[in-house]
């Protein structure tokens, strides 16, 4: 437990401020020196020379969501593991490393079970994720129900 001063976070604010200043500044400076003559053609989105059809904000496939779902669970578990990983060395030095090791193993074991489940159900595949077999299984389930 080491005390610190909140001044240590000063560079974060300053650097983000720099990012804002750079973006705003470059665009304002550029406003005076660059041409500005918009035309109808310029302002259409690029679609290989064709006139664009419809909008791009369309439905995407669910596999994006399923991967994001697996990710967020891993992300949260990683965030939970950080403090335990930090104190592991200290606990090991005072001789009670086994308890921490076992609790970490249990935690990772449950995490691994989730990964294995998603793998076996084909959630981690991109293209052929939902094979004929899983479709058939699902259809059978529906028939039974």
């Amino acid at each position: 437990m080491t005390a610190y001063n909140l001044n240590a976070y000063m560079p974060v604010i300053i650097l983000v401020g720099f990012a804002i200043i750079m973006i705003v500044g470059a665009l304002i400076v550029g406003r005076f020196i660059r041409p500005h003559n918009p035309s109808d053609l310029k302002e259409t989105v690029y679609e290989c020379g064709e006139a664009p059809m419809g909008v791009a904000w369309s439905n995407f496939h669910v596999r994006f969501y399923v991967l994001a779902l697996v990710f967020i669970i891993f992300d949260v578990e990683g965030a939970l593991m950080f403090p335990v990983a930090v104190i592991f060395r200290k606990f090991n030095e005072i001789g009670s490393g086994s308890a921490v090791f076992v609790s970490l193993l249990l935690f990772i074991g449950v995490l691994l079970a989730g990964l294995v489940y998603c793998w076996s159900k084909g959630d981690l595949d991109w293209v052929k994720s939902y094979t004929q077999q899983s479709f058939n299984e699902e259809r059978d389930e529906k028939k039974l129900a």
Partner: protein, 101 residues
Amino acid sequence: MISLPSFLAISFILFVSGLVVMIAKKNIIAILLGVELILNSAALNFAAYTRFVNQNLDGHIMSLFIIIIAAAEAAVGLAIVIRFFQIRESIHIDDATQLLQ
């Protein structure tokens, strides 16, 4: 300036805006945004009380678990929203009136 009442006031504003979002919006995803705001205000309260009232970090653990539960809630909630959209082609909360599909 950094005192318990000011943190409670911020957390109160977050809570009320979350509540208004939950009730006013008819879009299910927008309602989930409101839920996130409310959970955040609760987690902020725990951290504030830890800092100003008793300095034993149990409140931080509680906030940590609130964040975890919020993540799990968002994952399951959005999965339900997507499934609902696949079935009904809508994410209007008033369409979710039937239990069976």
